[in-house]
Symmetry: C2
Subunit: 226 residues, 2 copies
Amino acid sequence: MRVVKEAEERRNEILDAADELFNQKGFDGTSTNDILEKVGIARGTLYYHFKSKEDIMDALIERYNVRILGAAREVAADKSIPVTERIIRVIMAIQISGGSNKEIMEHIHKPSNALMHQKIQKVIINGITPILAGIICEGIEQGLFHTPFPYECMEMIIAYANAVFDDDMVDLTTEERASRIQAYIFNTERLLGAESGSLMSIMQLFGSGTGSSSPESSHDFACKTD
Amino acid sequence: MRVVKEAEERRNEILDAADELFNQKGFDGTSTNDILEKVGIARGTLYYHFKSKEDIMDALIERYNVRILGAAREVAADKSIPVTERIIRVIMAIQISGGSNKEIMEHIHKPSNALMHQKIQKVIINGITPILAGIICEGIEQGLFHTPFPYECMEMIIAYANAVFDDDMVDLTTEERASRIQAYIFNTERLLGAESGSLMSIMQLFGSGTGSSSPESSHDFACKTD
DNA sequence: ATAATACCGACAGACAGTCGGTCGGTAACA
DNA sequence: TGTTACCGACCGACTGTCTGTCGGTATTAT
């Protein structure tokens, strides 16, 4: 008893199912059989709509891309919001997209699968950086920031945050994480040529519990003075 | 007609073969059959020595790790070399290990496979950063650098370089690459609180052809002034 | 001779993708 | 109106590849 649906509708059904499964089991841990069973279709149907498993992943990432960049651009364009606040909101747009999808986005950042993870990173770095760099340019005009390389600064800031805070690239204890956050903000100020202490509001991006104290490296790397 | 060899010797044969194949075809594109055929052993032999294909990759990465970090530590410990030169040599140790392995190392950085690539990145960032941070601390004592976060600075510098210059994370034209290098050096100076222009020697890490001119963002992102 | 280690190759199961065939919906035609 | 042809969506058995397993064998050292 076959059921015929519009191609667009079926494609989205497949993507919705894949979305859920990739979050639960990761890309590698999800078989095409898992996906087609969840949708309730046959193998041939799946491959009628997508040419490969990786094609499904790419379509899913593209769906997120459109959503994320759309949200980020809206925020960035709202000149009534102060520059710093806009930066924060754009970055938040990466983490929260469409309200009820928060948990989904968080899981997709987990190293469920390196390939998928890499592709998402690529989308974020190449997509979000120009938007943020645009905002930095406004800050430069307002005298908030001083750098001849707004784009490259934001690229560095985003790429690093991605590697250290969102990846499992660097294993951090709670203390180490707090220290990293402080250093991150300090270094962001330096890179952007912003006044010391002027970007502390970025801290809210990392949730609470990171207090605020004088700059100091609490990594096992305070320079030895012996 | 079976041939018996010492476990250590056989393990290295397998790793040598895997090394070559992973470079040629990537991890995903290399099957265990490829490896065992190249060595001239049976399936069961391969799995006698390694518990999985990923175990082979991990052993190979660990082999490189030991080699790379060893070379880096030697350089870092040579206090007769100026601080800046030592930084350069340590970074070069990542790219050139054991002379004749240069090409191999370069290929292993290619995105032959995301998982392997991710694991190598992790090793580099977590392994090299403390070594470099140690050197930075010496520079701080000598008044060359001024930062309360030597470790985090180097982490950011390494992580970013990895993402942009070694990954295919960001697609760069030759011009864009040159611009990125300039920005990278400029930003490195800022992060480390180094005197402007004092780290231009880092440029040699990127090969020739990057000239030298005044700081300017040649990304399509010079801030619009209208 | 015995025990431990290294080695062998047939096999099983999982998986992504293929391919010949079917079916529902629609347009064209008599 | 009924029939036919066509198209796109769908079906499921099958294929080939791959990783890892396991019962068995050969070699070496004692």
